[in-house]
């Protein structure tokens, strides 16, 4: 059976479905698998919930990106549709819906149309293991961290397929560059997550969050004195590369390759890539929050009166607040820095990030052995 978190809704379904099914006529009673039907209904509820949780932040993120970009650049961003431009995304999606989706001449049609479908599977699967609150988690896998790493590897497949299947030299160059970039940075990404696993003692995200319970100086970013901050910065750098986001967006470097691997896609196929980028951004920020910033725990200080107020706010609000803070950091990175060249990008990973991450792992062991972690 699937591992699942005890959750009031799940328990409610499990108790009441046999009662409801008991109203059916008696002669088919022995043949109804009521426990299995209850599980099936639970699964469908989880799928709908994950779909909603995955897609709901995307309008907020896209609006936030445009506004952050605008305010850095001394302008205002979308202002016309809706008050302060909140309905801009509705217009964009409507435009994308009405555009024609066609494959260019000479493209491999099956692979061309398969690529945007694959690209959305990985981020949704990643969302299943993230604890949004104490019992708001679809599956508390004990191997959650390797699962996330595996899903990241799955996401590169669609970039390679999409670039190769469009009959276009620019797309080919960009998808190969992106493939090389992502498989290189997966190593750094994995090492930082390995550091967190080592410090927390478990690869399950629920337990990693539980190891940060307490006050705000119990979060891993503060608990290991300098190590936590360095590890967080390394995580930000390698995950920016994993997400194909600027300044590591050589896959879609507009100035050189006019669109990269999604040049030939329009309409809803392009919307899939666009959507997947933002859902991935949200998911990676969630992982950063869980691993470094304390997950759904409130930043309590130790003074009882303030702590009561802080704990009164539900955990999911703290979780989303911290996630959007991390998203804001990603956006500031995107709009400030220039892009390194391909070989310099690879050199950054293999010559700088990998040795530094190994050093951080060694320091993590030293910190654990000597007990320099804050209590």
């Amino acid at each position: 059976m699937l591992p699942s978190v005890t959750h009031p809704i799940g328990d409610f379904v499990r108790e009441n479905v046999p009662n409801v099914l008991g109203y059916l006529p008696d002669f088919i009673q022995p043949y109804i698998p009521s426990a299995e039907i209850a599980t099936l209904i639970n699964i469908i509820i989880c799928m709908v919930a994950i779909a909603v949780v995955g897609i709901a932040p995307v309008p907020v993120l896209i609006y936030m990106e445009r506004k952050v970009c605008a305010h850095i650049q001394c302008r205002l961003g979308p202002m016309r549709l809706g008050p302060h431009g909140v309905l801009q995304l509705v217009a964009d999606i409507a435009k994308l819906l009405f555009k024609e989706v066609y494959a260019p001449k000479g493209a491999d049609k099956f692979l061309f149309y398969l690529a945007p479908i694959f690209v959305l599977t990985a981020p949704f699967l990643n969302l299943c293991v993230i604890p949004f609150d104490k019992n708001l988690q679809v599956a508390d896998l004990s191997v959650a961290i390797p699962f996330i790493l595996a899903m990241n590897g799955f996401g590169i497949l669609s970039t390679l397929l999409g670039g190769w299947a469009s009959n276009n030299k620019y797309s080919l160059i960009s998808s190969l560059r992106s493939g090389a970039q992502i498989i290189s940075y997966e190593i750094s990404f994995a090492m930082i997550l390995l550091l967190v696993v080592m410090l927390a003692g478990s690869a399950s995200l629920g337990e990693i969050t539980a190891s940060q319970s307490g006050h705000f100086w119990d979060w891993w970013i503060f608990k290991a004195p300098v190590l936590g901050l360095l590890a967080f910065i390394m995580f930000l750098v390698s995950s920016t590369a994993e997400l194909n986001r600027a300044p590591f967006d050589i896959a879609e470097a507009e100035q050189e390759l006019t669109g990269g691997f999604h040049t030939e896609y329009n309409g809803m196929a392009f919307a899939m890539f666009y959507l997947a980028e933002y859902i991935n951004l949200f998911t990676t920020s969630c992982i950063a929050t869980v691993c470094f910033l304390g997950g759904y725990h409130a930043p309590t200080i130790g003074i009882l009166a303030i702590d009561n107020i802080l704990n009164f706010v539900p955990g999911i609000v703290w979780f989303l607040g911290k996630t959007f803070f991390v998203v804001w950091i990603y956006m500031m990175f995107r709009w400030t820095f220039v892009r390194p060249r391909v070989d310099q990008l690879m050199a950054l990973e293999w010559k700088f990030l990998l040795p530094v991450n190994l050093l951080l792992l060694i320091f993590g062991v030293v910190f654990l052995a000597f007990g320099w972690i804050l209590p």
Binding site: I72, C74, R75, L76, M332, W335, T336, F337, K351
Partner: protein, 158 residues
């Protein structure tokens, strides 16, 4: 990229220097954008169609050619044709007629706005100050006939 062999010590020194100078330069850049982000007084754009009432161009702005007319609609043009000769693009056609007294006056002042380069040479050439450059800049239209304008309302003086 240089291909000569670099000594190990030199390489390590350069590597460590870059480890420090690199992130420091990036932080400098971040500080500039953070300052611009948190400072809404620096917004330099205007909300264009909403602020049309208060929008005013500079006096010398070269929009399109207009005829100077007083309250009665009388213009100062004598149909001398200097503007037509000064225009590099043949965007002006001065069609003269004879008025009742037999004097040559302005009949129609045809202005082909579609080929006008808004250079202002016609205004400089006019010895009577009969034309000037207007301040308008919104000219988009659906039909090409809107760009063939007749600038005068009445016949000119002789």
């Amino acid at each position: 990229m240089s291909t000569e062999k670099i000594k190990t010590k030199e390489y390590i020194k350069r590597y460590l220097k870059r480890c420090v100078s690199g992130p420091y330069s990036l932080l400098c850049g971040l500080s500039v954008t953070l300052r611009y982000f948190f400072n809404p007084k620096r917004i330099v754009t205007e909300q264009y169609p909403e602020n049309k009432k208060t929008l005013k161009m500079h006096n010398r702005f070269r929009g399109h050619v207009v005829m100077v007319e007083d309250e009665n609609g009388e213009n100062l043009c004598t149909a001398c044709g200097m503007c037509e000769r000064a225009c590099p693009n043949a965007s002006i056609n001065v069609l003269a007629t004879k008025n009742i007294a037999g004097k040559k006056v302005l009949g129609k002042y045809l202005y082909h706005f579609g080929s006008c380069t808004q250079c202002g040479l016609c205004v400089e050439a006019c010895p009577f100050g009969a034309i000037e450059m207007g301040q308008d800049f919104e000219f988009a239209d659906f039909s090409p006939e809107a760009f063939e304008k007749v600038l005068n309302k009445k016949e000119g003086r002789g």
